[in-house]
Assembly symmetry: C2
Homo-oligomer: 299 residues x 2
Amino acid sequence: MIGYNTSMDKIVECVPNFSEGQNQKTINAIFDAAKTVPSVKVFELEFNADHNRMLFTIVGEPDRVLLSAFEAIKVATELIDMNKHKGEHPRIGATDVVPFVPVSGVSMEECVKLSEDLAKRVDAELGIPVFMYEESAKNPDYRNLADIRVGEFEGFKDKMRKPDFGLAQIHPTAGAMVIGARKYLVAFNVNLDTSDIGIAKDIAGKIREKNGGLPGVKALGFSVDEKAQVSMNLVDFEKTNFDEAYRAVESEAKARGVAIISSEIYGMIPLDALVRAVKTTFKADTFKSDQILEKKLYE
Amino acid sequence: MIGYNTSMDKIVECVPNFSEGQNQKTINAIFDAAKTVPSVKVFELEFNADHNRMLFTIVGEPDRVLLSAFEAIKVATELIDMNKHKGEHPRIGATDVVPFVPVSGVSMEECVKLSEDLAKRVDAELGIPVFMYEESAKNPDYRNLADIRVGEFEGFKDKMRKPDFGLAQIHPTAGAMVIGARKYLVAFNVNLDTSDIGIAKDIAGKIREKNGGLPGVKALGFSVDEKAQVSMNLVDFEKTNFDEAYRAVESEAKARGVAIISSEIYGMIPLDALVRAVKTTFKADTFKSDQILEKKLYE
């Protein structure tokens, strides 16, 4: 019997990053280890030889995603020796950083708890010290990933700050690790009907949070195919979703006499972002993702 | 192992209607029979004692949905005797009408084929004559359900027109049946900030297809909670989706100096309708349902 016999009420995403982007055998072994856990989906493997780094995405129920990440971390710990690792990208360990991201039916608190549960296992079973970052940060100095990484693996050999789990001493081959929870990032671009990149930069400057614009919006102006593009990262779609970002760009563009050619949602997006966009745009206050027919199939 | 080991590329919906709305044991037996087929979802059972009629929804892969509908039809054929049936709603058989509706990855042609496959089995294995309606109609006189039903079960005993499958002679207890394929119907209401129902009726008259308005749009004006409501059935959301209907109502309301309070999508809606609304509204031409994270889980 082919079964859909698990409830998928709670879904999280995890995007572990490992310090291997050259040895295909090792890359596959780590990716395959994540896949050994039933009923999670493991996909979007990316690796880069110059960075000597790989990452992929795991989605599914919280407990199973944790298990899948742990299986991959175990294999990375066995196969990667950081003493021999060279790459352009800053890193502190064989498994470098493991973020958990709420997708649906899961609070940030639950993702923080999940990241802590994984950190405890990594410390206890693998003997790798763990720093907690972003929403999981216990020490404000560790909130920002770049701040934790200062000194990298090589610097940590001589001197390492006190981690949140484990001793202030790296694992001899796997180094140290960063684990945490963060919000889902939606990549969203709006293409303007002008070749004047100045207008895109101007609009980006106006709408980005840093300059007092929309909450959770990072924005830059680019030139793509000879057209000006406002390229955005929406780091908190519950505060500013893609439809709101679109309308803000549209209004700024209109004030400058410029029309929108198209927009693009880049990469994956949680269903909830779509549902929110429909609710807001069409004042459909009562609309729920449970009304989506396909969702019934997987309850 | 909990598995998601079937591809859900093709999804259809089926909403079979049976002539039983009073005997709870029979109602349950028919509903439960549909559920015996693995990996389809059977839900939204509705029944009405006055109409003496029940219906429910089956969604899943085409072959399995057919099987699920057939299991329910078999039990309805065993348990319902039309000679004893009384009810307000017109009907011609124990299983009265069985529409198949494309939801995603399925063409109307495939749904027509599916309806014919079911009709052949109903004729061959159960000996019930079948009329094909809507998109599956072979005889233009049978396209409209109400036209087929003229005379009902009682009239068919004496005189029955030639069906598309089987003989022009009813099954002694189960009567005859209507099977076919039709498009998905989206129920969509827009609530206006006025108590003047005349404005809702006026806008409804302007946008409905019958009067040269939007293709596939049926619209009526109502008064709901002392506010005017434009209530629509979108019978072909690939031609006119809810976002387009919303903008049409918005524009007509604006011309009459009236604002929109809210809108509501009523009941279930295919994911594709949401994806289309996002594409159209935000000029996101490249957006695909495959970009929805939750969908990855069920591939």
